[in-house]
């Protein structure tokens, strides 16, 4: 216990804190990039999955299998697979790229289900009205279905991304200089594990907690029907 107390002034130096801040930035950047790209690709996946007709059947099977399979493989296994696969095809890829690709693969599997649920929450009658007016599939999606599905899609998608900030701790295993890796490094330098990992946990908490609060606030806000929201805006103005 005294050892820890004695280490405190030595540990909380500007240098160490700058390192932690930098690593926290990397953690956030990794999560954000991976989740954003993954979210975009998940839309493509859902769109392909909903293709009508017999010729699209193999496509639908592939999309469904993808979602089902990757939700059942541990993230750390995905990281290793991506790492060694990328290294055999493009040996000069950076570890950051490899981490982002891994996050992406995972984010697609999880957000695809969220997006599908959101799109399915829009009544079929809305798409029927669009079809009867000669809207194409893509136009119906973009102008009618998606704008109505956002309030259902966004909150869980944000919640996923926020909770994935924590899961990215696993990429420390392949040597990306993110928060957890930095923690292990400091621990190896002889700093107390309680001190180091307590601080690191605090760093994650400071990123995750406010963002999840923001997500919850957004969820409440989006749950208000559109008419009411604009009415309130008009009243305020």
């Amino acid at each position: 216990m005294e050892r820890i107390l004695e280490q405190i002034p030595r540990f909380f130096t500007t240098d160490n804190m700058a390192l932690l801040l930098q690593s926290a930035g990397l953690t956030l950047a990794m999560t954000l990039t991976g989740c954003l790209i993954g979210f975009g690709l998940a839309f493509v996946l859902v769109y392909l999955r909903q293709m009508p007709g017999l010729w699209a059947l193999p496509l639908r099977v592939v999309c469904i299998t993808y979602v089902e399979v990757f939700r059942r493989i541990p993230f750390i296994v995905v990281i290793y697979l991506v790492l060694f696969f990328i290294q055999t095809v493009a040996s000069d890829a950076s570890l950051f790229t490899i981490a982002v690709i891994s996050i992406c693969i995972y984010a697609i599997a999880y957000t695809a289900d969220i997006i599908r649920g959101g799109l399915e929450s829009v009544p079929v009658t809305q798409t029927e009205a669009a079809r009867a007016m000669n809207f194409g599939r893509l136009r119906t999606l973009v102008t009618v279905t998606l704008p109505q599905a956002w309030p259902v899609i966004l909150p869980p998608a944000i919640a996923f991304a926020v909770s994935f900030i924590k899961d990215t701790a696993l990429v420390s295993q392949i040597g990306v200089f993110e928060l957890t890796f930095r923690g292990k490094e400091l621990n190896n330098q002889g700093y107390s594990g309680i001190l180091v990992f307590g601080t690191i946990a605090m760093c994650y908490f400071l990123m995750s907690f406010p963002l999840s609060m923001l997500g919850q606030y957004l969820e409440k806000r989006l749950a208000t029907p559109r008419g009411e929201r604009s009415a309130r805006k008009i009243r305020r103005a």
């Binding site: 009658t125 009205a129 669009a130 000669n134 136009r139 102008t143 009618v144 009411e228």
Partner: protein, 245 residues
């Protein structure tokens, strides 16, 4: 040559045959009413005409031009000529009233924005909603929403307007405002097919009434003929029950 000719039209939901060969025809400017008990396939006729329910047999011709429902381009042409108004209005909840009316003319029919907007304002004024252009659908009453839906369909300048039980979902006191709109369209010579349970209204505006039961046409004729002197037992039974109330 009739304006619209439907010949032996068939449709299935899975194994259930909901239309068992429906035939009728109509001239330009006519108002045809489809009546009959629930589940008789009236609404399905309208849905098949615009390609929302798959057709399993028979033919539909507009101006002698046959619509092939297996062909996407042909279905698009059919939807160009016919516009449908639904029982539940189905306005796009994410768009303001004015956008609901202008979205298809500008995005699908590629009309100039200003022209489509002027047209929409004219139509919304006609249905009595000139002051609601910027409202969202969930801020309007059912009757108002249904009038917007009619304006939205008219903005497509259809040859034929299909009205699918447009007053069934409305509170009784809101029915008349919608019926007034349709009455006005009828006097202006709009070609319409309407599915309705409002028998007094049907008798007033329809040029021809088609009585359907279990997916087939049982009897058709002028409103007076059908309502007052039905030839078939089934029609007599149905109108007897309804008109007594």
């Amino acid at each position: 040559m009739p304006h619209l000719a439907v010949n032996d039209l068939r449709a299935k939901y899975g194994a259930l045959e909901v239309l068992k060969g429906v035939s009728f025809s109509m001239e330009k400017g006519q108002v045809v009413a489809l009546v009959g008990p629930s589940g008789s396939g009236k609404s399905t006729v309208l849905r098949t005409l615009v390609g929302l329910t798959p057709v399993s047999g028979g033919s539909v011709t507009i101006h002698g031009d046959e619509i092939r429902y297996s062909n996407a381009a042909s279905v698009r042409r059919a939807r160009d000529q016919m516009a449908i108004v639904f029982q539940q209005y189905n306005l796009f909840q994410n768009m303001r009233i004015i956008d609901n009316v202008t979205v298809a003319p500008t995005k699908i029919k590629k009309r100039p924005k200003a022209e489509a907007r002027a047209d929409a304002e004219r139509l919304l004024a006609m249905v009595g909603l000139a002051d609601k252009l910027n409202a969202f659908p969930d801020q309007l009453s059912g009757g108002q929403q249904q009038r917007v839906a009619i304006a939205r369909a008219l903005a497509l300048h259809p040859e034929i307007l299909l009205l699918d039980e447009v007053t069934s979902a409305l509170d009784p006191e809101l029915v008349n405002e919608v019926l007034d709109t349709i009455r006005r369209l009828a006097t202006e010579g709009m070609t319409m097919i309407l599915v309705s349970h409002e028998m007094a209204f049907v008798r007033e505006v329809a040029d021809k009434v088609i009585f359907m039961d279990s997916g087939a046409v049982v009897e058709e004729g002028l409103p007076e003929q059908l309502f007052d002197a039905p030839k078939t037992d089934r029609a007599r039974e149905f109108f007897g029950k309804i008109l007594r109330h």
